[in-house]
């Protein structure tokens, strides 16, 4: 928990807190925050501000029926949703996306494997397994890419990324990651669906990435 040097930029933490961020990226943020107390504290500060905004917000009167309905349900038994725990290298939100099962790896060639967790029109998120020492072919992507290291390490133009580190790359970044020697590198990587922008994504990241 001490060696994380690449964090989630503040704007992305705020986009997560406010709910603007799509599910694929939000999974990477939730997984990083699970590993990084510094980002957890920054996120909490944003949530406090969100709470203050809520408290200062204009009210809308509630119907009498609602109060009665809520108070009468307090003693109802509820089925708890399953709570997933961290398992080996995978933080709880990743285990949740895996529904508690080990990843289903599919080969991509040269020993690289992937396991897609979510794929939709607003983006996709996957686990990547890269054998030690392998250089990944330069990959291009349409918009933003967030990569969180869960095991091993990789290096590229942005520096060295070890367990818990997040790389934030946009389409302007030349991206030629090389996995460190030793242990295989396992990452959680989210991208917005390339070439299939809905209006939401470019608007979301325009201020920082000038798409």
């Amino acid at each position: 928990m001490t060696s994380i040097t690449h964090h989630i930029p503040d704007q992305l933490l705020l986009d997560y807190a406010s709910g603007r961020m799509t599910e694929a990226f939000a999974l990477v943020v939730a997984a990083h925050v699970s590993l990084c107390d510094d980002c957890r504290a920054r996120l909490s500060a944003h949530e406090m501000t969100g709470g203050a905004v809520l408290e200062a917000h204009d009210s809308a009167p509630l119907s009498d029926r609602l109060r009665h309905s809520v108070l009468s349900q307090l003693d109802d038994a509820v089925d708890d949703a399953p709570v997933y725990q961290r398992s080996s290298i995978f933080p709880a939100p990743v285990m949740e996306a895996l529904k508690g099962r080990p990843p289903k790896w599919k080969p991509l060639g040269r020993g690289v494997r992937q396991s897609i967790l979510k794929h939709g029109k607003s983006g996709s998120v996957r686990l990547l397994y890269i054998p030690p020492g392998l250089d990944m072919p330069d990959h291009s992507h349409g918009g933003l890419e967030l990569t969180l290291v869960l095991q091993g390490a990789f290096s590229d133009e942005g520096g060295r990324f070890g367990v818990g580190d997040v790389e934030v790359a946009d389409h302007e970044v030349e991206h030629k990651p090389v996995a460190a020697k030793g242990e295989a590198c396992i990452c959680l990587a989210a991208t917005d669906a390339a070439l299939k922008f809905n209006a939401f994504i470019p608007k979301l990241f325009q201020p920082i990435f000038r798409i």
Partner: protein, 174 residues
């Protein structure tokens, strides 16, 4: 909130409902929900507060920040049919000690300062903060532009987390 958590006090819960319910509805309607949908959301959020109260830790959260989170989750679910992955929950310190009480009090004071700063913002800045936190616009640096004291709150929570990790380590390595 501690009465709700520790004593399952329904009257205390009703007071939280009366205070926050109408505000939650106001925020929900602002995002385009009908009055009926907004009330369904208020119901889900407030019941969730009651059912998850055991996870509440006043040294790291406030009732309002907790409700904010839960409400954002519900709203994403209703408006976008998406789930929002949440970070691993940390164990709440259930024992109320003198130290944890003073930590919680310290955080409350900092949040008080934040609320005061929010209330003093010029209307345009305040609107920007509202829009950013209610997901209507993306923003780069709220703290630098508005002077809201987010850094002090972050530092306090950070210290609390360090202490918690320290205690957990102590339990793991007897």
């Amino acid at each position: 909130m501690l009465a709700v958590r520790d004593k399952r006090d329904k009257r205390a819960f009703a007071a939280l409902f009366d205070h926050f319910g109408p505000r939650l509805k106001g925020v929900a309607m602002r995002s385009g929900l009908s009055s009926g949908q907004a009330e369904d959301m208020v119901q889900d959020v407030m019941l969730s507060l009651w059912r998850k109260a055991h996870l509440f830790d006043p040294t790291r959260a406030q009732v309002s920040s907790w409700l904010y989170q839960i409400a954002r989750n519900r709203q994403i679910d209703i408006l976008r049919k998406e789930n929002r992955p949440m970070p691993e929950a940390l164990k709440a310190e259930s024992e109320v000690t003198e130290e944890s009480t003073s930590e919680a009090l310290g955080l409350e004071q900092e949040v008080g300062a934040l609320k005061a700063a929010l209330a003093k913002l010029k209307p345009a800045q305040r609107e920007m903060v509202e829009k950013a936190y209610l997901g209507e616009l993306s923003h780069t640096d709220i703290e630098a532009e508005t002077g809201l004291p987010l850094g002090t709150i972050k530092s306090r929570i950070r210290l609390g987390l360090e202490k918690l990790r320290h205690e957990l380590d102590g339990i793991r390595k007897p």
